[in-house]
Symmetry: C2
Subunit: 208 residues, 2 copies
């Protein structure tokens, strides 16, 4: 097995690293030079036609992309500790929270990033991607609203999907930390989310 | 168990119905009157704070939302026939295709729907949701481009994720059919996707 990846603050590469640290898994790494556009090269597009990292190359030569799918594959090989749940109910509830975190928090954040952040302006111009700053600002409001909602939802529990650390926490932490990198802090009054962030950031895996 | 749902052309409700038909599962149904806004009522928001259907009520009173998560729960209870894969590799590859279909095809389609379709204009005005028609049109182009990409990817196989019918086909069929409902047909030259659509539409589950 081989993981094509690059150490960067973006949520997806970091998710796989945290997941592997929690499981105690080590996989040989081949760095992909994003700065020089290697992920859009013909050679790399054979590994992932979408030109995104991370990509996991299996021993039979199959290429697996999509971060959550890579983690799900690794979970099937290394079930302990379970990060996607063990019982049918846990499996359903954890998956629901992964999706809620991605769709309610991650999706608006990525629209803020693409449409309003100075870092993406040059990249979008180069790639011919139109930006919609007003749409981006709308998503910033939506993001704040959804973070406040999530703060209410986690009342009375230590982690996003319940009383155990799961993939939903990895998904949420990488998004919240990337927002901080974009200078978007958690809303002032989200005391539960702040305590949760401290709790999960204190785990050794968070520095992976 | 009880399923809160409504028979409508939208992808999510239809996905659970097709999934249950493929598995031969029957679950008592309680219809949610979307037309009168029941899904936004205080009573329904206790079942799903996001105000979306479908929602599955488990026997212990837990509410499960997010369509794919509901199906994943049902798969854990009723593993045969497997629609999310059995081996680690199948599990990873099928999940990757579910995500690719949702992110590359479903996401742009939903932006076309929200930002450009006449049906959503009154709803957005009523809910105070700003629409961005130019962004919607950009997504229409992206959707066409991604459908052409998917057409190339499925060369040499009968189904989206390989040689067996899986959840990825259910995800894709419901999106492609909803696009058709929005009068967006498959691109003329996507012969493989057209043949795939005929193949999966011929299954008894497609009429669920």
């Amino acid at each position: 097995m081989k993981l094509y990846d690059e150490k960067m603050p973006a949520p997806n590469p970091r998710r796989v690293r945290i997941f592997m640290a929690e499981k105690g898994i080590a996989i040989p790494l081949e760095r992909v030079a994003l700065a020089s556009g290697e992920h859009k090269s013909e050679r790399f597009l054979k590994r992932n036609p979408l030109g995104q990292i991370p990509v996991l190359e299996l021993d039979d030569g199959t290429y697996l992309s999509e971060t959550i799918s890579i983690c799900r594959y690794l979970e099937a090989l290394h079930p302990r500790p379970p990060l996607f749940g063990s019982t049918p109910k846990e499996i359903g509830v954890i998956d629901m929270w992964i999706r809620r975190v991605e769709l309610q928090i991650g999706a608006p954040l990525s629209q803020v990033w693409i449409n309003t952040h100075p870092y993406t302006e040059r990249y979008c111009a180069m790639m011919g991607i139109a930006r919609y700053p007003d749409f981006g600002e709308d998503n910033r409001k939506r993001l704040m609203d959804r973070l406040a909602w999530l703060d209410g939802e986690i009342a009375g529990r230590d982690f996003i999907a319940g009383d155990a650390f799961t993939m939903a926490d990895i998904a949420a932490l990488t998004i919240v930390d990337f927002a901080a990198f974009m200078t978007i802090p958690l809303p002032e009054d989200c005391a539960r989310l702040k305590a949760w962030r401290e709790r999960v950031s204190a785990r050794p895996s968070a520095s992976a």
